[in-house]
Amino acid sequence: MSEKIILLVEDNPDDVELTLRAFKQNNISNKVVVARDGVEALDYLNGIGMHEGRDVKDVPVLILLDLKLPRINGLEVLKKIRSNEMTRLLPVVILTSSIEKNDLINCYETGANSYVRKPVDFKEFSDAIKSLGLYWLIMNNPAPVRIS
């Protein structure tokens, strides 16, 4: 119940590095949990596997989700998130390189809240992260957690 956690689901270590740096540079000091693939992400959210024993009621306040993930891809993860009562209403921002129409449609269909294309230029990337953080962590009011 304490701090607002950001769950970053990203398999590329460089991208992880850059994203974290971008958070830091933009004074976003939330705890960032990194899941290196879909399985890890779901384990975390469900408190199973490598995140065995975690308090699932402690849901992240924002999920940044890449699409191209090994094992279970981002769309699948999104589906799972959206089908889980606990996490169904969580804000999920798709953060990916692709701007393919199909990806867009499928993500929104499945219930993504936002879709941001990762720029190549770091400056832009940093700005994007800043905007995201500003919006989703501060401006946006997340849905209250339902504890059933």
Partner: protein, 739 residues
């Protein structure tokens, strides 16, 4: 009573004379009618004479008074019989009577001079009388045909009485005892007999006269009957008129019918005042003619009916005398109808003749042997003969010599009644030959009729057509052969095409597959290539930031260059993706408002990297038929370029609109930027082709290639006009909305 024979004989003579007189008068009256009545007259004359001779016995020689007288009696009766025969129309040869008579006379002579016997003489005479009277009686009562018997009965009976008397006399002769030597010294019986003879004689006279009279009446009756009937019932109109004034004495029923007059109308009228004759002079002529020759035969005159209508009549008349007045018995044969028919017939004949002359074909008739009877003028023209000449020649003369035999056979066939239709060459008078088509037949009166038509021309035409046909056929055969070859070639071609089509199909299939792969490929590219780029750029940035104080200027520059390179690569990747999408996307035409689209893109661009003093001039309501996404890509690229190349212009001006160039509708995007050298215009739309250096104006060189691909896909054209330093205008066309 003593009957004196002499006295009786004498009175007999007197009565005989009277009777003779009667008969003579009768003879005079009737000899014209009954020419043979002379015989009867002679009969009576002889009878009378015989009696006179008997009376004069003693005064004249015995041979006269005894032999001759008896002979005369018998001869007289015989004459009478002969007349009777003629009177009843039965003639027969009297040889038997002649023989008998001679015999009787001989016997009489014998018994007068050789062996005088009064009785014998008496018997002889009586037998003779009996013999002859019996024949008369028999004739008149039995031999005559039944219808005449009433006429002859009277006289017949008289003769029967004569016979009876004779028989009685003969019987008496044989039964009487005493001899008689003198005729006059006879008994009462003889005298009675004589008396009876006398009475019979008178009776005979009366009955003969009556018979003749009756006969006359009968004849008149018959004549009248005949005449009356003939007159009454004749189909010709009979009229009996007086010659002098034309008074109508008698007409028959036909006259009534033909002229329309009634019997009442005619009474007391004359043929003149009734105006029966159409022309007065006709009657005068007739009267004249009758006076001269007594008859007029079958002359045609015009008469007038009661109604005034004229009728044409064939007039025959004869003069007859009635009550001593000359009269005309006329018969009129109404030939009006016949005349009309004749007229119609000759009119008809004239018409036919005209027709024969008018028909365009030759018409002629021949005798059975082929000699011409008549020909119409057309035929004469055809053959070159005159009408007169034609009638002298034979149809065989119009056959070329070698065909004459065939012509003869043809004539023979026609004579048997066949109708023929044939073509043959015909010989003209001048020896030239032409071809005819003929039909010929025998007509009702035995002559041969024929119609011919000159078909030389037609034959020539037919020949022409025939040869053309043959030519045509060979040509057709040739063509068909050629066509067949072409057909073969075509079929082969089709086979090849089919094979090619199959190949194309399979190529198509593989292309589709390749396309799918490409789509997947681009997808990967958009992800996989970008990530490392991001890393490169990111960490270069971090390096620059975090190790700023550790890097010298050059190091910083290098890192900057690394960063620029990665960004360029990112842009390249995006552009290439775009370019490939242009051909991948499904093409879907819509009405697109270019003005709105251009404005949107310009606004976005301006917001992203604003140009100072930018003026954007957009014509409104330019609506085109295009694929929304693709035309968007094209417009985006064009406007990106416009913005890019006016980046260094003080007062950048970008315009979009539509115009008419060479009658075509063109759209343009114009800028007043840096422009380019038209010498390199042909490289403008090549992929990766750049006309400016990257340091001056960044770019991948793919943008315009993409635009061209979009416009190409729409079926339009794109070209550019520019001047270095003045700006550039890009023109493009899009197929019209409704095409």
């Amino acid at each position: 009573m003593i009957l004196d024979m002499r006295t009786i004989v004498f009175s007999t003579v007197l009565t005989d004379l009277v009777c003779l007189l009667v008969i003579v008068l009768l003879w005079r009256q009737s000899r014209k009618l009954f020419t043979d009545i002379t015989l009867l007259a002679l009969d009576f004359a002889l009878q009378t004479l015989a009696l006179i001779l008997i009376i004069l016995r003693g005064s004249i020689p015995d041979w006269a008074s005894m032999v001759l007288s008896n002979a005369l009696v018998l001869v007289g009766v015989l004459l009478g019989y002969m007349w009777l025969l003629r009177f009843v129309g039965q003639k027969s040869v009297q040889i038997h009577n002649y023989i008998y008579l001679t015999l009787a006379v001989s016997v009489q002579y014998y018994f007068t001079f050789v062996q005088p016997d009064l009785a014998a003489r008496g018997i002889n005479t009586s037998v003779g009388l009996l013999f002859l009277c019996f024949q008369c009686a028999w004739l008149l009562l039995y031999k005559v045909p039944a219808p005449i018997r009433p006429l002859t009965r009277g006289v017949g009976i008289t003769f029967v009485l004569y016979c009876l008397l004779s028989i009685i006399r003969i019987a008496e002769f044989f039964t009487s005892a005493h001899m008689k030597t003198d005729f006059f010294q006879t008994s009462t019986f003889d005298a009675l007999v004589m008396l009876v003879y006398q009475i019979l004689f008178i009776v005979a006279t009366y009955s003969l006269v009556l018979m003749i009279n009756k006969r006359l009446h009968m004849d008149i009756s018959i004549q009248e009957e005949k005449f009356s009937k003939a007159f009454r019932s004749s189909p010709y109109a009979f009229i009996l008129t007086r010659l002098s004034d034309g008074k109508i004495l008698e007409v028959n029923d036909s006259f009534i019918n033909i002229t329309g007059y009634q019997y009442a109308d005619l009474k007391g009228n004359t043929s003149i005042n009734l105006h029966l004759w159409d022309k007065e002079e006709d009657r005068e002529f007739v009267v004249d003619e009758l006076s001269r020759s007594g008859k007029v035969l079958n002359r045609e005159f015009q008469f007038r009916k009661k109604s005034g209508e004229k009728l044409t009549g064939l007039y025959t008349a004869e003069m007859i005398t009635i009550n001593d007045e000359p009269c005309i018995l006329s018969s009129i044969n109404d030939i009006t109808a016949r005349k009309q028919a004749e007229e119609a017939q000759s009119a008809g004949e004239r018409q036919i003749r005209q027709l024969i002359e008018q028909i365009p074909d030759g018409f002629f008739t021949l005798r059975p042997d082929g000699q011409f009877i008549m020909a119409n003028s057309r035929l004469c023209d055809m053959l070159g003969y005159t009408r007169e000449e034609i009638q002298r020649i034979n149809i065989l003369d119009t056959y070329p010599p070698e065909l004459r035999e065939a012509g003869k056979q043809r004539l023979a066939a026609l004579r048997t009644g066949d109708a023929l239709y044939f073509e043959r060459p015909m010989l003209r008078k001048d020896g030239s030959v032409f071809l005819i088509e003929a039909s010929a037949a025998v007509s009702a009166d035995g002559s041969l009729q024929s119609i011919i038509k000159d078909i030389t021309k037609r034959k020539q035409e037919e020949e022409k057509v025939s040869s053309l046909n043959i030519e045509l056929e060979t040509r057709v055969a040739e063509r068909t052969h050629e066509l067949r070859n072409s057909q073969m070639a075509l079929l082969n071609l089709v086979d090849d095409l089919n094979q090619s089509a199959e190949k194309i199909d399979s190529i198509n299939q593989s292309l589709k597959a390749t396309n799918k792969e490409l789509i997947a490929f681009s997808y990967s590219v958009s992800h996989d290539l970008r990530a490392p780029l991001r890393s490169i750029d990111g960490f270069s940035h971090i390096l620059l930031e975090d190790y700023e104080d550790k890097l010298d200027d050059e190091g910083k520059i290098y890192l900057e260059r690394i960063r620029r390179a990665t960004q360029h690569m990112g842009q390249l990747i995006d552009d290439m993706l775009n370019l490939s999408r242009v051909t991948q996307f499904e093409f879907h035409l819509d009405d697109v408002d270019l003005s709105v689209m251009v404005r949107n893109i310009a606004d976005v661009n301006q917001q992203r990297s604003p140009l100072a003093n930018l003026v954007v001039d957009i014509q409104e309501d330019i609506i085109v038929r295009a694929d929304q996404r693709l035309i968007n890509i094209a417009m985006t690229n064009l406007l990106d370029n416009a913005f890019k190349f006016t980046g260094k212009t003080k007062h950048p001006r970008i315009a979009f609109g539509a115009a008419i160039r060479d009658g075509e509708r063109v759209y343009f995007i114009r800028d007043n930027g840096v422009g380019f050298d038209m010498a390199y215009a042909n490289k403008l739309f090549g992929a990766f082709q750049r006309l400016h250096r990257t340091e001056e104006f960044p770019g991948t060189g793919i943008g315009l290639a993409t635009v061209k691909r979009v416009i190409d896909r729409h079926g339009g054209k794109i070209w550019a006009e520019a001047e270095p330093g003045k700006g550039a205008t890009f023109y493009f066309t899009l197929p019209e909305r409704n095409s």
